[in-house]
Every structure is written in C-alpha cells, then in structure tokens.
C-alpha cells in the first residue's frame, strides 16, 4: 500500500515547527504587480570552478546550479519538501519505494524534452564510480548502489561494477521509481540537492570535464556566457516548465569582486543584491532605518566551534573538556560581532531539530574550576598557581574571524581556569591536513555548515565513529561514543519525525555532556536588495534564491538619486 507523499508531509511537519522563520521574499512587502524584463546584477568575491551539478558543491557554484538545473524535489520557503521537476511523489509506507510522476513537456535548455530516461541517466552519471562527485554516499541507500558505485570483487580479486543502478527504474516516459535498500529519512532531503538533477543529453551518461564549459539543464535560466574568473551571464530559459517564471531577462554575475568593491557598486546601483559585507559596513546598514525594508538576516545555517580531540592528551580526559566548555563565555566573545549569535547546541536555527529552549553548554567559571580539580589540575585564580602544566596549541586557519576576533578572548578566559592556550595560525590546506589526521591536533577550530536542513547532516559527518578515518576525517575530535552512534543509525532510518527529533535531542545532550566540541556560535548573513528589486527569498538549503526575482524598471531608472541619499554614512 502506498501513502502519497507520506514522507513529504512528515518532513514538512518537523521543518514547519522547528525552522526559524525562513523569511519571505523581501519584495513581497511592497504591493506592486510583477514586471517582466531586466537584467539582475550580482557579484561574488570568489570564483566558480565548476557548473556540472554532479561535481560542484561549493557555496559559489550552488546559486548557479539552482538557476540552471531542476531537482526532482525542493524545499519550499516554509521548509516543506515539495515536488519540483516531479509533479507527484509517492512514498511507500515502509519508506523503501519512491515513485515520481514527472511533469510532462519539460524542456531542456537545448529544446529537447526531459523524460524519465534522462533522470535515470543523470542519476547514474552522477553516481558513476568515475565521477568525482563529492558526496555520493548521500544516496548510498538506493538499492544496488554498492555494486554500481563500489563494485563487487570476484574470487580472483577483480572488481566488477554493475552497469546500471538497479534501484532506479524507468516505468514510463514520465514515470520513475527509486527503490531504497533500507528506510532512509535523509533520502528526500538529499534529493533536493543538485547532484542528481537531470542534465541534457549532451552531458552524456558518463561525466566529462569538458562538458562543464557548456552546462545544460532544465532550470529557469540557461548559460549565455562564462568568462572565466570574470563574469557569468545567464539568460531566461523560455521553455521553463513554470510559464510564469522567470521574470528576469537575465542575470549578470561578476566574479572575484571584493566585499568593499561590492559595497561601492551597490551604492552606485551597479549591484542589485549585497550579502558579502564587512562587519563594519553591516553595522552601518543595520543602523540605518531606511534600509530595513530592504534587508534581512538569513537564518544561521552553520555552527562554529572548537573541537577537543578526545583521543589525545590533555582532552582525552572528559573533565578537562567540560572545564574548557564551562570556562568560555561565548556571549561575551561574540558580543561585538553582529553576525555571530552565541550558541549552546550543535544544530543551527535553520536546521530541523534546533530547539531555542535547549539548555546546552553554558558558561560557569566556578563549575569550570571544579572540573579542573576533578581532572587533577586544580587551579587557584588568586595566586595563578596550578592548572594544566603545559600550554595547549589551538590550530586554526589564518584570516578567519575565529583567530582574529575570538581566539584572543578564549585565551584570556581559559587562562583564568589554568589552561594556557597558544594560537597557531596555518594556511587553510595545512589546517585541513593537520586537523583531519589522528593524534595530530588536540585543539582546533571546528564547525559545520549544513548541506541540507536535516540534523543527520550535522551529527553524522562530524561526530560519528563512522566518520573517523586515519586521514581526511571530518570527525576532528575523533569522538566515538556507542550510544551516540546507535542513536544516529536509528535516526537515519527512522521515518517518524517525532521519534527522530527525540533521538537527535539526546545526541545534543551527549555533545553537551561529553564535549567533543566546545560549541561557540552560529554565523548568520545579513543581506540587502535594492529598493527596486522584488521577490528575493532566502533558499532553505543554501544562500540566495533568485528564481522569482523581478525588477521595477521605472524605480530602477529613477532610483539612482535615492541610492545616493540612502547611503548609511556620508552625504545625507
């Protein structure tokens, strides 16, 4: 028996209650009918390396993928998972069979019709063992994944790969079925990502690096020109399946534009959206009430922390880890940073399961001193005697807020309980290499930003035993806790959202008590659009959502003087 969109409904319930308001399009606050035409001007301080959805998975590329490609399902602004390329999704009651009825008449950018065969081809292309897909394991629950992606060894030791992914079955021109080998509550959330989004037949059934220069999908925009490291221009896809969208004629995206330059361009009306702000500029815009109708905080999607290596001295002693967590007053540490919100739990506000009422790690210096005593390192703050005898080195990448704004305060606060912390700045590649190896770094900068708004995406890669590897592990604390691991496994397969939520709450309690991370703060983004830009929304998974943006051309033309007046500093 099938229950239509059972999982979708369940997911919606959890997200709907747990997510901090994914705020509606800023432009909706102004009651003006949508207008067609115009080119949206955007900028980014980093570069785009790839626009192939099977391999691109960085914050710069994803906004482009969102405009060029269409996944089967997507997150609605209210946090529900809804069909997108699919017209309907049916999930069997056991959670194993997912049936997709595709929209009919959907056209790729090259004019060809998108069918179920294209969906299957694109899925197999992305999960092919030769494709450098960064996270194929998101889809490891698809039946036949292992023989297709990892291969099967024959008695002679030769590895043979299945020619097709058995769990993906085409049932008609517009009908597709995906069978899972085990219930997986993260399957649909992972399906909202762009890895498996259908690509044109020019993309073939095997990944080819060259195709990256001419990416072709079924999204609301198509690639017009890609001037490497300078600019990417997108044009409206006239064959987009939603006849109302997009409103814009095109989007011009300048690359490698420094935040300060972006600010100046925004002030001159040469940019229509501003997100990459220096803290100082952020304060200026926030302090100006005239900009408030055109600005918003994006809900925090990441958590910044300090990892404490549970397998290395001195933090192999849980009491010392607890002392560390209790000694740091994160509210004070981040008080001067408007884009940082002190955190007490791992899950950020944008992720289902975040509970504003949860009592997590809290600052209490007396408790910290008691933990130091229990750890065997009593410290007398009056005389400065005692404490942990050796300095502990904190490793962090250079040029990060953690090093510049926060680590010096951590250092002072830890000194008050007898832990002498040394700060070691290294390049980002060196940081990744050092901290991801066993027995190399006892203390360092940690944290995680979500791939999709599900708690599993936070706990599993960062703190599960399965994530521990000798090299390149994301579990930098090398934390291994049997109860924690068992909870994660059960929650991964549990389809009852309330039961899942309870399991992840217990995971939060374990993190609070065992302190593999001293949880610091949630980083959030402040963003502005020009007064003539409408329909802008924050994407539930990633950053901006430009799909429904439109421009009030008249206001844009006449608005230059207004912009000059609205500078939050200088001429008024």
């Amino acid at each position: 028996m099938r229950r239509r969109v059972r999982a979708l409904g369940a997911m919606a319930m959890v997200l709907g209650t747990a997510c901090e308001g994914l705020q509606g399009p800023i432009g909706e606050r102004r009651d003006v009918p949508p207008e067609r035409g115009g080119t949206l001007e955007l900028a980014n301080y980093s570069d785009v390396r790839s626009l192939d959805p099977a391999v691109a998975f960085d914050q710069t590329s994803i906004p482009f993928l969102q405009l060029l490609f269409t996944p089967l399902v997507d997150y609605a602004p209210d946090g529900r998972i809804v069909p997108l390329l699919a017209e309907r999704v049916d999930v069997a009651s056991d959670g194993l069979r997912h049936s997709f009825k595709l929209r009919e008449g959907v056209l790729f950018h090259d004019g060809q019709e998108l069918t179920a065969d294209d969906v299957k081809r694109s899925i197999e292309r992305a999960l092919d063992p030769e494709t450098p897909c960064p996270s194929p394991s998101f889809y490891a629950s698809i039946a036949g994944y292992s023989p297709f992606h990892d291969g099967v060894k024959d008695p002679a030791g030769k590895v043979a790969f299945a020619p097709h992914l058995a769990g993906v079955v085409v049932e008609g021109r517009y009908a597709l079925r995906i069978d899972l080998s085990e219930p997986d509550a993260t399957f649909l959330p992972a399906l909202t990502l762009y890895f498996l989004a259908p690509v044109c037949r020019s993309g073939g059934s095997k990944y080819a690096r060259d195709w990256n220069s001419a990416p072709c999908g079924s999204g609301p925009f198509r690639l017009q020109e890609w001037s490497a490291s300078r600019e990417i221009t997108l044009r409206r896809h006239d064959g987009y399946f939603d006849p109302g969208l997009p409103y814009l004629d095109g989007i011009r995206w300048s690359l490698l534009v420094r935040p300060l330059t972006q600010r100046f361009k925004f002030e001159k009306g040469e940019l229509d959206h501003l997100r990459q702000l220096h803290a100082n500029d952020l304060r200026a815009y926030r302090g100006d009430p005239r900009w408030q109708p055109f600005a918003q905080w994006e809900p925090a999607k990441g958590t910044e922390a300090v990892f404490l290596n549970t397998q290395m001295p001195p933090f192999d002693k849980v009491e010392l880890r607890r002392a560390f967590a209790a000694a740091v007053d994160w509210k004070r540490v981040v008080a001067a940073q408007p884009d940082a919100v002190a955190a007490t739990q791992m899950l950020p506000p944008a992720v289902a399961g975040h509970d504003p009422g949860f009592v997590g790690q809290t600052y209490d210096r007396e408790k910290a001193l008691a933990h130091m005593r229990r750890a065997g390192y009593p410290f007398d703050p009056a005389t400065g005697r005692g404490g942990y005898p050796e300095p502990v080195t904190f490793v962090a990448p250079t040029d990060t807020a953690m090093v510049e704004n926060f680590a010096p305060i951590l250092q002072q606060q830890l000194a008050k309980i007898g832990i002498r912390m040394r700060i070691k700045q290294v390049s980002y590649p060196a940081y990744l290499a050092e901290t991801s190896r066993r027995n190399r770094v006892a203390l360092g900068y940690g944290g995680w930003s979500m791939d999709f708004p599900d708690a599993s995406d936070f706990f599993e890669p960062t703190l599960s035993s399965d994530a521990i590897q000798e090299e390149e592990t994301q579990n930098r604390a090398f934390f291994a806790d049997s109860e924690f691991d068992a909870l994660l496994k059960r929650a991964h397969h549990e389809l009852d959202p309330l039961a899942r939520a309870a399991m992840y709450r217990r995971c939060e309690e374990i993190v609070r008590d065992q302190v593999p991370w001293a949880i610091g703060f949630h980083q959030r983004w402040y963003e502005l659009v020009q007064p003539y830009v409408h329909g802008y929304a924050v994407d539930a998974k990633h950053t901006e959502d430009m799909r429904a943006v439109w421009i009030d051309a008249g206001a844009r033309t006449s608005g230059r003087d207004l912009l000059a007046v609205m500078r939050p500093w200088g001429r008024r």
Partner: protein, 295 residues
C-alpha cells in the same frame, strides 16, 4: 666619530630629525610599558563599543581607544614598538654579520682561485653567484615563503628568517669596498710583513668598511621593521595575541570607516620608525662619506 664627520652630521637636518624620531621610538619602547602601565593582552569589556558597534574610541582610560577584542590600543602600540625594535636591530645585526663575512671573503679573494689549473674555482665567484641567485627572488616573497613553511613562528624564527635572507645586498657592497681597500698600501704592507689573512681582514680591511656598515645597518633596521610588519600584516608573522604593528594594521583596516584611529595608530608608528631610521642612515652616509660632502 671623526670631528669633521660629526660636524657634517650635526648640520644635516634630516639626520637630526631622524635621530629624534629614532630616540623617541627607543624611549617609548624602553619606558612606555612602565609609564602607561597598561596590559596589551587583557580585554577590558567595560570599555564597551561605539554607537555603531565599532571598537570604543579614545577615552581617559584608553587614550587610543580599544581594539576589536577590547584591548588597549596604546598598550599594544608600545609593546609593538619594543617588538619591532628587537626584531629590527637583531635581524639587522645578523644580516650584517653574514653579509660582512661573505663580502670580506669574496672581495679579498677576488681574482684568486683555489685548486689546480683549469679545475680551480674562485671563492669570490661562488659567493657572488649565490648572491646573484638569492637576489633573483624578491626579498619579501622569499621571506613569506620561508615564513609560511615554518611550523611555528616565534620572535627568534622571525629574526632569523629576516636576517638570513637580507644579507645579500650587504655582501655585494662589502665586497666592492673590500676590493678597494685590499689594494691600498697599508694592506699590502701588512701582508708583506707576514700577517695572516684573517688578521688582515679584521685589523685593516674591516675598520675601513665600518662606515659603510654603520650606514647599511641603520637603513637595514628600517627595512627589517617594515618586513616584520609586512609579515604580520599577511598573517605570517607572530601569532596572536602578540602585539605587532603589522597585525594591528591588519585588524584596524577592517574598522577604518568607524574607528580610523585603529588603522592610523600602527600606520603612524611604522612611518615614524621607518622614516627615522632611514633619515638617520642617510645622514650617517653623508656624514661619513667625505667625497659627497667635503669639509
């Protein structure tokens, strides 16, 4: 100092201004911490923030305001002076030591080969080719590469890196001076009397290139201060929370719109120190070089 040189030095306005600036920096570095009695490493959270959330501005408690993590800017500036001077002087000394040694050896052995016939090699040639290769790399790039490769940065490693990479120019200048001096009569005479080469170099050649070394050393301090600041500015210098002018410049840059003094204070400090040593070096050069400024 030769009275005529001293007279030339006193009449050189730039030299006097430079001397005053250097003296000021030295006095601040030596006595500043005692006079101001402030801690450069401790945050004063009570100092609060400005109206727009920027670091607090100058006040009675904090004459130059506080930085992004509520530490006294003046205290950090004063301790930064101490650090800059220590690194500048020590790195220059190391640079002079290495450069002078190689310059003396190269200049004195110029035109002579070691070994038989065509197989003979010239010590001067070897040293100068090393210098040529070293000079192919821009100084700061070389220093940055070594700085980035170091596992841990301390005052010692910074001054060793700076000193050991900046001797090339010194060696070349000392070589040319040595080549000039070694053919003078008194050096020839000392050799004829049987004095050994090291003695000739130390007793007769070195004192005659000392004026050049003083000038080079003075200007080198300015370069070392600048290089240390550049390293710190690029996050390749001393780790936080060490108060370095370069690091302060980097931190202040982010607040230049709301708290420009955080950028101006270390900027002016670097300017005063570097200009002071440069003017002093220039004055010394003119005072010690009788050909350019006859008595």
């Amino acid at each position: 100092m030769d009275p005529r040189a001293l007279r030339r030095f006193r009449s050189h306005r730039g030299a006097l201004i430079g001397s005053a600036m250097v003296l000021f920096v030295v006095l601040v570095a030596a006595f500043g911490p005692m006079v101001f009695g402030l801690d450069p490493l401790t945050s004063d959270f009570e100092s609060g923030r400005g109206a727009a959330g920027e670091p607090a501005g100058p006040s009675a408690a904090h004459w130059l305001g506080t930085d992004s993590v509520y530490r006294d800017e003046l205290a950090r500036l004063v301790y930064g002076a101490r650090l800059s001077l220590v690194i500048g002087v020590a790195a220059s000394a190391l640079s002079l030591l290495i450069g002078t040694t190689f310059g003396l050896l190269a200049g004195y052995s110029q035109g002579r080969t070691i070994g038989p016939g065509v197989l003979g090699v010239s010590l001067d040639g070897i040293i100068m080719r090393i210098v040529d290769i070293g000079l192919c790399f821009p100084f700061l790039i070389l220093v940055m590469a070594i700085g980035a490769a170091l596992d841990e940065t301390t005052v010692g490693t910074v001054l060793v890196v700076l000193g050991s990479t900046s001797w090339l120019g010194t060696a070349r200048i000392v070589r040319s001076q040595t080549m000039r001096v070694r053919d003078l009569d008194f050096v020839t005479a000392s050799r004829a009397l049987g004095q050994r080469t090291p003695m000739v170099l130390v007793r007769h050649v070195l004192p005659n290139v000392a004026g050049t070394l003083i000038v080079l050393g003075t200007i080198s301090v300015a370069q070392m201060i600048l290089a240390e600041s550049a390293l710190s500015y690029l996050n390749l210098g001393l780790p936080p929370p060490t108060p370095s002018w370069g690091t302060m410049l980097l931190e202040g840059q982010r607040y230049f719109a709301g708290a420009p003094w955080l950028l101006a204070a270390p900027g002016v400090a670097i300017l005063v120190a570097v200009m002071g040593f440069n003017l002093l070096g220039e004055g010394l050069r003119e005072a010690l070089d009788a050909r350019e400024s006859p008595p």
